[in-house]
Symmetry: C2
Subunit: 214 residues, 2 copies
DNA sequence: TGTCAACTGTCAGTCGCTGTCATTAGCCTC
DNA sequence: GAGGCTAATGACAGCGACTGACAGTTGACA
């Protein structure tokens, strides 16, 4: 899934270049023409390969839309695991997301410009068929995150509700933030980082029963 | 969307019968062969109409899978609105779901046997492409429910976080219950009602910070 | 350099879904 | 109750996502 530079013959490099080119072209087309109005044939044509070849790199048109998200998410999980053991579950989650936003370029820049990824994210948030897939992927990620949290705390995910409940609350807020950001004007990373942070900071008080913020 | 009996000429009745037949055949095929392995042609053939006619009754194959859910959900919203004003938001939600399960037959029996609907629900919970759609539909329903709650409490949904947060927590638990039920053996209404109730009853203590249940 | 395996293109076909147009069949009026 | 109106349907053609099969091309490596 990641860009591999090392141990590569000409063949490997060529493959990587084709994949990257397909991905970039796809996202560029999606964000300019719209996902539904972009055909796989157009994507393939833009890179000058056959449609059949496209389907050898990506199992579906959908997959291209989420390929970069995939990289970002797995980075998030890594960052979460690296959090100091002293952090509470919520602090760890909060810290990992903010870290992830602050260093967004690292995992993806080599494949796709950050700005294109942001446009892609916004496009996903405004395309019904992709929203559906996005939500399903999110629940799968939630499951993984809950396991990491349980591990950190030395708990059994199946027996103890707390990891899943914590993650569910956290994810709910993240989804809300994503939706709000997607509906807004400012497409920048700074913007979503800011929205994320302020929403997360409201979660604690709300759960604690403090309804009034002032 | 609902079964209309009154003010019907032969034409209306015939249409209704065709729609019901298509729906029943579709769900029957989905639950026996699997959603992906049944084609629209098969559904149409089973009712002896052309494939084109199928698409005049349902905008997509997906729609048939959720047609009954739709009826159940709108019934739930109605029940929620009818809850006594004295109920707290959570009590109202809890009461409405349990009511809905207890009288499941009323809204749907005329169109589809309850048992078929239960099998359909389970099938949705175990079909990735439908899980995605299910989640998106759920978030749309959540939005509606949040508005009802806000109305009940005389609050502004946009300004006050509480309605949405409450509904988000409630829905999260409902989804968990649905998933658990779908993975289990017992397909009965009683079974899911029971799972729902016990999960909901755990939510209060968990949110209040009581981690130990004993 | 030649052999092998990986990669790719071409083609044909399935399935979901849509537009078009001719035909059928309730419905309504005179 | 014959005839006209219109909703409902069927038949057909076509698009786009996706797959399987087969043949041609091109790196890898002895």
């Amino acid at each position: 899934m990641k860009t591999q530079e090392a141990h590569s013959g000409l063949r490997e490099r060529k493959k990587q270049r084709t994949r990257d080119a397909l991905l970039r072209s796809a996202l560029e087309l999606f964000t300019t023409k719209g996902y539904d109005r972009t055909t796989v044939d157009e994507i393939a044509e833009a890179v000058d390969v056959s449609q059949r070849t496209f389907f050898r790199y990506f199992t579906s048109k959908e997959e291209t839309a989420f390929a970069v998200q995939d990289m970002v998410e797995s980075r998030f999980v890594t960052l979460l695991r690296e959090r100091p053991a002293a952090d509470s579950p919520f602090e760890a989650l909060r810290g990992a997301v903010l870290d992830a936003w602050d260093t967004l370029g690292e995992p993806i820049e080599e494949v796709v410009p950050v700005e294109l990824h942001m446009r892609t994210y916004q496009m996903i948030e405004s395309t019904p068929s992709l929203i559906a897939v996005h939500l399903r992927r999110s629940t799968e990620l939630e499951e993984e995150i809950a396991r990491v949290i349980a591990e950190r705390e030395g708990l059994d995910v199946e027996a103890d509700l707390r990891p899943r409940v914590t993650v569910a609350a956290f994810s709910g807020v993240m989804r809300m933030a994503g939706r709000l950001w997607g509906a807004g004007e400012d497409i920048s990373v700074e913007s979503i980082r800011e929205v994320t942070e302020s929403y997360l900071d409201q979660l604690g008080p709300v759960l604690a029963g403090k309804w009034r913020t002032e």
